[in-house]
Amino acid sequence: MTHLLEIENASRRFGGVLAVNDVTAHVDEGELVGLIGPNGAGKTTLFNLISGFTPLSAGTVRFAGTPINGLRTNRVARLGISRTFQNLRVFPNMSVFDNVSVGAVGTLPQGPLDALFGAAKRADAISERTWAALEAVGLTHVADELAANLPYGRRKYLEIARALAMQPRFLILDEPAAGLNDTETRELAAFIKRLHGQGLTIMLVEHDMNLVMSICQRVLVLATGRKIADGPPEVIRQDPAVLEAYLGVDA
């Protein structure tokens, strides 16, 4: 059986540091996978390898069977991998609606003249996707607001909406709960489960252990660049290697 995302012996070296060291992992269509690990474990680097932002030093990453080694980030995005950021990357001086439509525009197929004239021709496709994504995160009522004027929590949802407008096959959420309070985190958990329920494959990188353990079907654990555990939350919770990595004790 082929997996949606296959990471095979992936390594990334920065000078003398092996940030990601021979990691092999996969994500299947329709899964909700958590990725956890102590600070400096290589989670972000692994992300960057998947999104084509950082080239691999060794190994391969395949998405839906296509190797994405060496592809540029925007090409990878067009293949259907979409992500949000821990420190948000919304477009602050654009309206909420325009922010989200950039996601739709970036991933709609386009011919050479579409850049200039395609907008009018495809306005329907773009605005349809945009409204659907805004609807999904509940931001339709602020569509004309500047993104910079939204409160922090709303901007997180805006970024998710922008990712959804790309109609991704695989959505990576980078610490979506960072900076949210308990109520907001619970809302977020429900929202992620709802997205997953609609058939979207999601990878969640998170420091909030409760969030990961409560909604993910499977959890990958990285420590010092290596994968040290891979399994359902209840197994991970008991895993001596994971406990050691987090608590630094000999289990």
Binding site: R72, G103, G106
Partner: protein, 306 residues
């Protein structure tokens, strides 16, 4: 002293046309400099290249004026593309977060574009000589037109029309088209744009091409308007466009146009009271006043960078 004395109306008209020529330059300049957030000091030479492209074609083939403008646009597009590859692309080699945020990386294009501008200007002097070349009489756009008490020339109307068309076209481009959406996204957050599938490289090239076509068109129109084309002709309008852009808030194209008009009118009014050699002082004076009292520009605060 009656302010509605025809003399002042005439000065006002002269100021407006002068302002329009600055505006013509400021539109493309602001698109690249302000909207894309990169420092480009070679815009003045793009303007000069546009003018020389037109002149060469006029001398060689004496085609209709539309063909002359078209040649300038083509050269502008090519020059914009080459300029981006030569002076800007090399500084985007590093795409990691630290370099993207680094002021030094961004401002290094100040020097690289300045270098390109010096090389281009000197090369033009070697090829064409540094003295003014006059445009053949039949191509001049300065047939007088009397409007009420003031006398304008045909070029005033042409430049007004072209500047308005550029302004409206650009507003359409930026707000209603995919490339416009991409340009704004890249100007807001290049990394974020990349991750949502925008080809940032292509977007930046497109911006340079569009902005430089406008710069080249401005060059040939102003050349035909004043009837003089020379290698250093882009320098003064470049400074004025820069001042207009800063006054307008760095990133507002309509703001830059309005400030270009204010500059033109003030300069022409100032020549009533001081000798014309001092009129450049007006621009610098405005620049200083703006920087002291309106650090965000007259139209800059809280607006989208369009």
């Amino acid at each position: 002293m009656d302010l509605f004395d025809p003399y002042y109306l005439q000065q006002l008209a002269i100021g407006l046309s002068l302002g329009m020529t600055y505006a013509l330059m400021a539109i493309g300049f602001t698109l690249i400099f302000g909207v894309l957030n990169v420092v480009n000091f070679a815009h003045g030479e793009i303007y000069t290249l546009g003018a020389f492209a037109g002149l060469v074609l006029i001398t060689a083939a004496a085609p209709p004026i539309a063909a002359v403008v078209f040649a300038a646009l083509a050269i502008g597009a090519f020059a914009g593309f080459s300029l981006e590859r030569l002076a800007f692309k090399p500084f985007r080699r590093f795409t990691d977060e630290a370099s993207l945020k680094s002021r030094a990386m961004r401002e290094s294009t100040l020097l690289s574009s300045l270098a390109v501008s010096i090389v281009v200007r000197e090369a033009l002097e070697i090829v064409f000589g540094s003295q003014m070349r006059s445009v053949p009489f039949e191509y001049l756009i300065n047939t007088p037109v009397r409007v009420g008490p003031v006398i304008l020339v045909t070029g005033d109307f042409i430049i007004l029309g072209v500047a308005a068309a550029m302004l409206i076209g650009l507003q359409y481009l930026l707000t209603r088209t995919r490339i416009g959406l991409s340009i704004r996204a890249v100007s807001n957050n290049p990394l974020g744009a990349k991750y949502v599938g925008i080809d940032t490289d292509r977007t930046i090239i497109m911006t340079f091409v569009v902005g430089s076509m406008m710069g080249a068109a401005a060059g040939i129109l102003v050349g035909l308007y004043y009837g003089a084309i020379f290698p250093a002709m882009g320098f003064v309008p470049g400074i004025k466009a820069f001042v207009a852009m800063v006054m307008g808030g760095l990133s507002s194209i309509p703001g830059a146009v309005i400030c270009a008009l204010i500059l033109g009118i003030s300069e022409s009014m100032a020549t009533t009271f001081v000798s014309s050699g001092w009129s450049d002082m007006v621009a610098y004076g405005f620049l200083i006043l703006t920087l002291i009292f309106f650090p965000n520009g007259l139209f800059g605060a809280g607006r989208e960078r369009v």
